[in-house]
């Protein structure tokens, strides 16, 4: 369950993110909206003893950047977890955290391709790759949060737990969020359509 996979990103993809980050750094230098590193209050990452949830599994697909503090987040420095599922008239809305457990500030694209996955790693509902290129910085210990909505799962019964994963844009890897518990299926939406009808999954941007 949630076995980590380590797949290096394609060089071209990595160059793409680095280019975006360079632009972001330039904007910050010109008085833009990027966070001021070092003055922002940080939140320490949850320790294993403090968290009731299983430890997040990160597909280690993003290599460390040569530009500490502004590079893409090292997948090894990212931890994700589902903190809540709530319902909404046929849908399930998950609140998911992404934590920088590394020692350097890094950035991630605000959107990823969301997936609903089960305990075997099977993809229950697959989202689409976003086109947006905006990024968000995460300082060490910082947390960004996003909401994920899923609806209409009409497939066979999944193996608990049910959680979400994020395929990062430009082939930068995949992060699987730790579920609420080892048996949690609260994120599994009902099937409100005919057998075989497609499910839907979407996410809102990662935000501090």
């Amino acid at each position: 369950m949630f076995a980590a996979s380590f797949v290096g990103p394609p060089p071209a993809a990595r160059r793409s993110l680095v280019a975006v980050l360079a632009v972001a750094a330039l904007a910050g230098a010109c008085g833009g909206e990027s966070a001021t590193v070092g003055t922002q209050e940080t939140t320490p990452p949850p320790s294993a003893g403090q968290s009731a949830s299983p430890a997040a599994t990160v597909d280690r697909t993003v290599a460390p950047t040569a530009s500490p503090g502004l590079g893409p987040c090292d997948s090894g420095a990212l931890m994700s977890r589902v903190t809540r599922w709530d319902g909404a008239a046929g849908s399930r809305i998950g609140t998911v955290e992404l934590v920088n457990i590394g020692t350097s500030t890094c950035v991630v694209f605000v959107l990823a391709r969301p997936q609903l996955v089960d305990g075997t790693g099977s993809i229950l509902i697959d989202g689409s790759q976003p086109a947006a290129l905006k990024t968000v910085e995460i300082i060490p210990g910082g947390i960004v949060t996003a909401a994920v909505q899923v609806s209409n799962y009409c497939g066979p019964g999944p193996v608990p737990p049910v959680t979400v994963a994020f395929v990062l844009p430009d082939g930068l890897g995949r992060v699987v969020a730790a579920p609420l518990s080892t048996t949690d299926t609260g994120g599994l939406p009902p099937c409100n359509g005919p057998a075989g009808s497609p499910g839907t999954i979407g996410m809102q941007p990662w935000a501090p």
């Binding site: 009902p190 099937c191 409100n192 497609p198």
Partner: protein
């Protein structure tokens, strides 16, 4: 807000547009997904020809429809009109061929020239005076059977509800609470924003029997405490899609507990949200709730042309709301939003606190019998927009009530109560009328007191005259005079006068003040005229109403107007009229008198040797007259017949040859003339 993800194939995207084979496949997938996607292809024909049809009524989109700059699928799409958008069109024009799946496959090459969308001009929206859309994708906006809406939660983020309303949506169902303690952070904003934009709004509670299996009341309390239910909101909902570990009976009891609690606290029977599969699997397809009066079902069933309605079609009530898509695209809302449909064109029946009052102005009125009075019925509507039916009871006899508009769609109507003095006259008195107004399940009443007064004199029917029998002619003949009058207040007294031979009018004594007939002697050949008047219970006295001038004339048996058949003999008698008479003894002998008048009588002898004769009037048998008498009596009126007016008639006497006393006399015929 940015949005990522979605159904494989991204069905949030457009509905109408030119597509290639690959995108056709994608859109067909959209249709399977219930997105009412359209396929438009693709042969461009000449366009710009004269209009083929003039605009008549506004139209509403049946599905997502591309609004284009030209009547061609090759032209740019200005926007995609969501389902339910109302457009104003001026003409249809020919253009490129199109085909689309909009509920069913439709094809054509005509296009609507559209000048306004949802009440806003195309020029203000898109900077062009006219835009075009394929016909066949619309229905008449009038008589809309459904209202479109959305359900929202925190997921949608900030919503531009004005844009939602402008897109034709009419209602919003916002998530309020979940379990105990969770309040959707967007609820209050969504509720206020939707209401401010003119959208009907309500809320739902996401049930968590898995978390609170023994405390549905706690969840209900949390919902009611958070809901902020006020009149004008739609009936709130219980969202059932989680069963936890509860069995069927336990879950039914849980639902019952929640509904009972909300009803106890608000007086509202909440609507129930469920998918047909959930209801059948976890609640055993029970009809218990529908049968208790929880009549509003919000059924979730996606990607289907019409929903499956559980609980035996919700105990034959059908669905009230249908959540038909989990991923619609609506202006003002980023990303996917659930699309819902209300089964009707008026939300009044599902509006909390919907009420109305009816009042009458004035609350009472007096009317002279025979006249009419009008009053205004005012309807104070509180979230009631349905037509109101009005009935009036307690009307007195002979009166009628009419409404200027029924059913009433506005805030007032005029009620006219008319009385009558003819036929069945409306009686005088005070009558409390009950005005009952009904709209859906709401019935309200008011009262109006109608006082009928009598300020008019009775309507008198002029005296008429009738020959009577038996009687005896002795220079004069008894004639019955009849009169009458009508009045809502009743007749208290009559008066009768007689004029003889054009002389002065003389009062006639009546048997009683309310007598309506009198028998008086009229001398043969003398003209008489009678007049009557009447007084009603209110003391109103009519004028004298004279009848015709009447005379009794004698046609002796020798008159040329009498034709005899068979053997008739002449006998002289000083007791006979004119000193003589004719008689027959043989069967079949007849005498026929032809005359003009309003009455006729046969004058004959009665005696021991007289027998029977048949009498025919205008060829119709009327009576067999037996002239037998133990003693002889002369100048007897043995038969008479009268008409309402003067005319030409015949009377025929046919002897029957009665055995032993066969004689039948014709002493004379009498007639009554009027002028």
């Amino acid at each position: 807000m940015q949005w990522a993800g979605g159904l494989a194939g991204d069905h949030r995207h457009a509905a109408v547009g030119a597509v290639n084979a690959a995108s056709s496949r994608r859109l067909r997938r959209h249709w399977r997904a219930g997105a009412l996607a359209l396929l438009l292809a693709m042969t461009v024909l000449p366009f710009g020809a004269p209009a083929t049809q003039a605009a008549s009524t506004d139209l509403a989109t049946n599905c997502g429809v591309s609004l284009r700059t030209e009547a061609s699928t090759a032209s740019p799409a200005l926007t995609i009109l969501p389902t339910g958008s109302v457009v104003t069109w001026t003409e249809t024009v020919p253009g490129s061929s199109w085909s689309a799946t909009c509920g069913s496959l439709v094809t054509g090459s005509s296009w609507y020239a559209i000048t306004a969308v949802n009440g806003q001009s195309v020029s203000s929206l898109y900077g062009a005076p006219v835009a075009y859309a394929a016909t066949g994708l619309f229905r008449p906006a009038d008589g809309t059977e459904f209202l479109e809406g959305v359900d929202v939660s925190r997921w949608q983020g900030p919503i531009d509800f004005v844009a939602v309303r402008s897109a034709g949506k009419r209602f919003v169902i916002a998530k309020a609470t979940e379990g105990i303690g969770f309040l959707d952070p967007a609820y209050q904003t969504n509720k206020a924003g939707a209401g401010a934009a003119g959208l009907a709004v309500t809320a739902y509670h996401f049930a968590r029997p898995d978390l609170n299996p023994a405390n549905p009341q706690g969840e209900a309390d949390w919902f009611v405490d958070s809901l902020g239910l006020v009149p004008g909101m739609l009936v709130p909902a219980l969202d059932l899609e989680v069963a936890g570990t509860l069995g069927t009976a336990e879950l039914q009891a849980w639902v019952q507990g929640w509904l009972d609690r909300v009803y106890a606290r608000t007086g509202v029977r909440a609507m129930i949200y469920a998918s047909p599969s959930f209801w059948k699997k976890y609640l055993a397809d029970t009809t218990a709730f529908a049968d208790q009066g929880y009549s509003i079902l919000w059924v979730a069933h996606w990607f289907v042309a019409g929903p499956t309605v559980p609980a035996r079609n919700w105990s034959n009530r059908g669905w009230t709301y249908w959540q038909y898509s989990n991923c619609g695209s609506v202006p003002g809302i980023s990303g996917c939003v659930d699309l819902d449909r209300y089964n009707g064109s008026d939300l009044t029946p599902v509006t909390y606190g919907a009420d109305f009052a009816v009042s009458a102005s004035p609350a009472s009125a007096s009317v002279v019998a025979g006249a009419a009075t009008a009053l205004t019925l005012n309807f104070a509507r509180t979230f009631v927009t349905t037509p109101i039916q009005v009935t009036v009871t307690g009307l007195p006899a002979g009166s009628t009530a009419a409404l200027s508009a029924s059913p009433v769609t506005g805030s007032s109507t005029t009620l006219t109560v008319a009385t009558t003095r003819s036929g069945t006259p409306t009686p005088v008195g005070s009558f409390p009328l009950t005005i009952t107004a009904t709209s859906g399940a709401l019935t309200r009443t008011t009262s109006f007191t109608l006082t009928v007064v009598d300020a008019s004199a009775p309507v008198v029917r002029a005296p008429v005259y009738r020959l009577v029998y038996p009687a005896r002619l002795s220079g004069s003949l008894p004639v019955r005079i009849e009169w009458s009058a009508a009045d809502p207040d009743g007749i208290s007294a009559y008066g009768v006068q007689r004029q003889t031979a054009g002389g002065s009018w003389q009062d006639v004594a009546l048997p009683s003040t309310t007598s309506t007939s009198l028998t008086q002697s009229m001398s043969v050949g003398t003209p008489y005229r009678y007049a009557a008047r009447a007084a009603d219970g209110a003391g109103n006295l009519s004028d004298w109403t004279p009848g015709s001038t009447a005379s009794v004339l004698v046609a002796e048996q020798t008159s040329a107007s009498i034709a005899y058949s068979g053997t008739w003999r002449t006998a002289t008698s000083r007791y006979a009229s004119g000193g003589s008479l004719k008689y027959a003894t043989r069967y079949g002998a007849s005498a026929t008198y032809t005359f003009t008048g309003s009455g006729v009588a046969w004058l004959a002898y009665r005696g021991p040797n007289r027998g029977s004769a048949r009498v025919y009037v205008d060829g119709v048998y009327r009576k067999t007259v037996n002239l037998y008498s133990s003693s002889y009596v002369s100048r007897q009126v043995v038969f008479a017949y009268n008409w309402a007016s003067s005319g030409a008639h015949k009377i025929k006497v046919v002897a029957l040859g009665t055995a032993g006393h066969p004689r039948v006399d014709v002493d004379a015929f009498l007639r009554l003339t009027i002028q």
